[in-house]
Amino acid sequence: MEQLKTIGRELAIGSHGGWGQSKEFLDLVKSIGEARSKAEEDRIILREVESLRRRIAEPDVPRRKMKEYIIRLVYAEMLGHDASFGYIHAVKMTHDDALPLKRTGYLAVTLFLSEDHDLIILIVNTIQKDLRSDNYLVVCAALAAVCKLINEETIPAVLPQVVDLLAHPKEAVRKKAVMALHRFYQRSPASVSHLVSNFRKRLCDNDPGVMGATLCPLFDLICADVNSYKDLVISFVGILKQVAERRLPKTYDYHQMAAPFIQIKLLKILALLGSGDKQASGHMYNVLGDIFRKCEQSSNIGNAVLYESICCVSSIHPNAKLLEAAAEATSKFLKSDSHNLKYMGVDALGRLIRINPDIAEEHQLAVIDCLEDPDDTLKRKTFELLYKMTKSTNVEVIVGRMIEYMINISDNHYKTEIASRCVELAEQFAPTNEWFIQTMNKVFEHAGDLVNVRVAHNLMRLIAEGFGEDDEGAESKLRSSAVDSYLRILGEPKLPSLFLQVICWVLGEYGTADGKYPAAYIIGKLCDVTEALLCDDTVKAYAISAILKICAFEIAEGRKVEMLPECQSLIDELSTSHSTDLQQRAYELQALLCLESQAVESVMPLDASCEDIEIDKNLTFLKDFVQQSIENGATPYIPESERSGMSNVSNFKSQYQHEASSHMLRFEAYELPRPSPAHVIPHVSVPTPIADLFPVPETTCNSETSQASKLPSVAGASSAAHGIKLHLDGVQRRWGRPTYSSSSGPSSTTSTEKTTNGVTHIDGVGSQSRDKLNESRRQQPEVSAEKQKLAASLFGGSAGKTEKKATSTQRAPKGNTRNAERPGAARSRSPETSKEKAAPSVPDLLDLGEPNPTSTTIVDPFKQLEGLVGPAPMPSPLDNSVKTSGFETPDLMAAAYTDLLPSGSSSGSLSSTTTDMYSVDKTSNTATSVPSIKKGPFPQDSLRKDARARQLGVTPTGNNPNLFKDLLG
C-alpha cells in the first residue's frame, strides 16, 4: 500500500509540472471554473471555439501546439459546444508517430465520433497499423479506440488482429482485446460466435485482471444460451472459491474484501447457470455458504456482494440453509438505517418471496415504512415488491395505494408503468366486478392516455358480459351502476380520449336499458361529449354510434324518437366531416331513422355485442368463383412464403453479411435496391382483392372501426349494425368468463371454476397456518394502529370477505392522512422507526388489525366514485394521535443516527459538507474532521498544489471554494 502511494505521489508530481499546458489554456480553464453562470461559460467557450477554428486551420501548426488545440477542442465539446470543424485534425493526429500525440488523437476521436461517423473509415487503417505495433502502449490506445469506434461494418477489418492480441505477452493488451471482442459481440453476435473457445481459454489467464475482464463477455454469452456453458460451472465455482479465500493478489482487495467486483460478476454468472438446474446448483451451495459466512457486513461493498449472493440463491435451485442465510441477510438490510440498504433489502425480499412467500410476513412494518418514505426511489421499489406479492386478498389495498401514488406523479414514463401494473393486478385478482370497473375508471381518469387500448376493450367486454354467470339480475345491476357512474363522471372536464370511448360505448349499449334515464337525456349527454374541446374523431365515432344504437332501441320498442336540435346539428356536422368514417356513420344514422321498427330491430338487435360473428378465414364460399376464374385463364394465387421475391428479401441480410466477411470492407457505393416484392403482388389474381374485404382482425381499435364501416357494403347491414365491435382476439381473459373467441362455452367455464376453487383452497391453507402464528404471537407490543391495519390488509392472507371490505372502506381516510402528513413526512417517520426499534420482535398484526365494526359496508360501489371527485372523509382519531406524537420526537432519528457512527468522527462527519452517508464505512477517512490535518497523508503535496494554483490566480476564496476541497476529505 505504501509503495502504491509512493508511485502515485511521484506521478502526481511529474504530471503537475505546471500542468504542462500553455498559460492561455490554463486561463481558459480557470475562467470557466470561475464562471458564475451558464451564460457566462457559454460566452467564454464560444470565443475560444472561434479562436481555435482560426488557429487550427493555419499552416504549419507545431505538433505540440496542435496537441493542445485538440485538448481544448475536447474541452469545448465536453461543455456542450460544437467542435466538429476540428474532428479531422484529431483524426490526423492518430497518424502521428509520437505516442503522446497519437494517444491524444485517439482520446479525442473516441470522444468526438460515434461509431457511424463518416470519418471512421479514415481511422480504420491507422487502427489496423497500430494493432500491429511493437509498442504495447500504442496497441492499448488502438484497442481503446476499437472499443468505441468499430461498428458492424468494420469489425471484419480488425477482428483477426484483435484475436491475435488475445495471446499478447502484456496482460493489459490481452485484457483490452477481450473487452474489444466483447464489444464486437454486442454489436453483432454473429461476428464472434466462432471465438467462444478463446473466451474460455482467457478464463484461465494467469492475470486476474484478464480473467475478470473475460467474465463480461462470458456473462453475455451465457445470458444468450445457458445450456452451452454448463460445463463451466465447476470452473466458475472454483474461481469464486479462490477469490473468496483471498488467493488473488492483494491489489484486488477493496475495503477489506477480496476482489469484490470479480465476486459479483461470478455470482451473476452462477445465478444464470444454476437457474432451474439442480445439479449445477449443487456445486454452488458450498461456496455460497462460505460467502454468506465471511461477508463483511459493515462496508458497502460487503453488502453489495451479500446482495448479489441473495440474488444468486434466489435464482438457483433452492437450498433451505442458503435461503435461511439469505433471509437473515435481507432482514439485516431492511432493519438498517441506511436508505440504500433498505432499498437493497426491499429488492432482495422481492426475490425471496418468489420462493417462500412467508418471508415477507416478518418484515411487514419495515416494508410499510419504506412505502411511506419520502424518498421516491425507495417508494417505487416498494411498489415493485407489493406488485410481486399481490394476492386476491390484498389486491384492493395494494392497487388502491398504487392509484393514489399514480395520481400524484408527473413522470409520464413511470405513470404508464404503474397504471399498467394496476390494470394487470386488477385483471388478475379483482375480487368483484364492481371493484374492477371502479378501479379501471380511476386508472382511466388519471392516466387514460397512457394505458393500452386493450385495457379499454377488456373493460367494455366485462360490462357487456358481466360475471359470466347466469345471473341476469346482477349483470343488469352492474351495467346500470356503470351507466350511473359514467353519467356522473361525464361532468368532469378533460377526460382522456380512451375513457370517453368506453363511456360512449357503455352509454350506447346500456344507457337506456334499465329505463331509468330517458333516451333524450342520454343522447344529449353524448352530444355534449362531441362538443368538448379536445374531442377527437375516434371519440366522435363512438359517440355517434352510441346515439345510433339508442335511437335504434327506441324505434324497436315502438317509441317515437324526437330529434334533439343539438343531435341534428351533430349529424349535419359529421355528414360533412373530412373523415369518411364519421360521414358513413352519420348517414347510417339518418338512414336508420327512416326505417320501420321491425327492420330496425333486426339491424340493431338489443344487447348483441356479445354475439359471435363467424369469420370464414379460408373463404370457402369463394372457391367456385376462384375455380371459374382460373379456368378462364387467371393466374393462380401464390402464398406469400412461396413467392420468389420474398425469399430474396429474407436472405438478403445473411447474404450481405457473407459478402462483408469475405471482402473485409466495402467502401464503394451500394447497389440499387432490388425490385421490391410488391411487383409480384399485382400478378396474383382474383381472390386477393376480395379477401381484403374480410380482413383478419387486427389489434388496434382504429382499424376495427374502419373495418366496421367497410363491412356493410359486403356483408350486409346486419353485421354493420353493431358499429364498433369489441376486439377480443388475442385478449387474454384473466378472470371471469373464458375468452370471447374460445371455441366452446361449457368446457372452458369449468376450467375457470377450477382455478377459482384453487385460489380459495390455497387461501384456506394460508389462513390455517396463519391462525397458528396468531396464537403464538398473541401478546406483542403495540404499534401504530394505522400501520397495523395496513400491514394486516397487505400481509394478512386469511382476511375474510367482510374484513376485506372493511379495510377497503378505510382506505380513503388513510390516504387523506398520508397526504396531510407529507410536508412533515421526514419527521413523522422517525418516531415510527424508533417505535419499531423499541419492539424488535415483529408483532403479528392480524388480530390487532381487525376490521372496525362501525365502518360502513359498500352498498353500491359506484357511489364510491364520488369520493374520487369530492374530498375524502375525515381522518380517524387514531391517525391524529400518530401525527402529534410524531411532532414531539423529531430528534429521535437523528440521535439514533449519530449513535451509530464511530465515536470521535460522528459530529465532524455529520456537520461536514461531505454529504456522504457512508461515512460509517470509511472510518479512516472520516477521521479528517479536524481541519488542520484535513489534507490527509500528503500535506506537502497539497500545499504545493495550492501554491501553484495561486500562481495561476485561482484562489480558495474565489467564486468556487469547493474547487479546493479534497474529494476524499
Partner: protein, 169 residues
C-alpha cells in the same frame, strides 16, 4: 447513396438508448458524468451513441435529479428507463447511468473506487485537479472502464499503467 445509409444508421442508434433498456440482458454502464453543484460538467463519458442535443438534455436532467436530493435518501434515482447511481464528493457529483436491474451498491462502490484511484494519482485529488487535467481523467477512466464494463479493479494496475503513459510525455 452513402449519405442515405448513414442517416438510417444514425436513426437506428438513436433508439439504442431505449431498446437496450428494454432488452434487459445488455447490462452495461450507459454514461458517467462528473458535475459540480451548479451543474457544470467536469467530465462526461458516454458509452452509448447519443446526439449532442440529447447529451445536453441528459446532463441537465441528471443534475436536476441529484442536486437537491436529501443526503439521507438512497443514492439511486430512476432516470427514464434506467437508473442513475450518484455520489457526492465535496462539491462534485459523480453519476453513473446503469441498467434498472443491476446491483446498485456495486456501482456505488465502483464510483468510490474511481475516486480513490483519482486520489492516488493526483495525491489528494480536488475538483481543481480534475478541471485542469480532464484529459488525464479521461485516460484513467479508460483504464478503469472500457466499453461500458469495468475492465480492471486493481488500483495498483491502473496507477502503474498511467505511470507508463506519463513517462512517454
Amino acid at each position: 447513396m452513402y449519405y442515405d445509409i448513414n442517416i438510417k444508421a444514425r436513426r437506428k442508434t438513436h433508439q439504442l438508448f431505449l431498446s437496450c433498456a428494454l432488452s434487459g440482458d445488455d447490462e452495461m454502464i450507459r454514461f458517467i458524468l462528473l458535475q459540480n453543484r451548479q451543474g457544470k460538467t467536469r467530465l462526461a463519458k458516454y458509452y452509448i451513441p447519443l446526439e449532442d442535443s440529447e447529451k445536453h438534455k441528459v446532463e441537465y436532467e441528471v443534475h436536476r435529479l441529484v442536486v437537491n436530493r436529501d443526503p439521507k435518501y438512497t443514492n439511486f434515482v430512476e432516470f427514464r428507463t434506467h437508473k442513475v447511481i450518484y455520489r457526492r464528493y465535496a462539491g462534485l457529483f459523480f453519476s453513473m447511468c446503469v441498467d434498472i436491474t443491476d446491483n446498485e451498491l456495486a456501482y456505488l462502490e465502483c464510483i468510490h473506487l474511481f475516486v480513490e484511484i483519482l486520489d492516488h494519482f493526483f495525491s489528494n485529488v480536488c475538483e481543481l485537479d480534475l478541471v485542469f487535467n480532464f484529459h488525464k481523467v479521461y485516460l484513467i477512466l479508460d483504464e478503469f472502464i472500457l466499453a461500458g464494463e469495468i475492465q480492471e479493479t486493481s488500483k495498483r494496475a491502473i496507477i502503474e499503467r498511467m505511470g507508463e503513459l506519463e513517462k512517454q510525455e
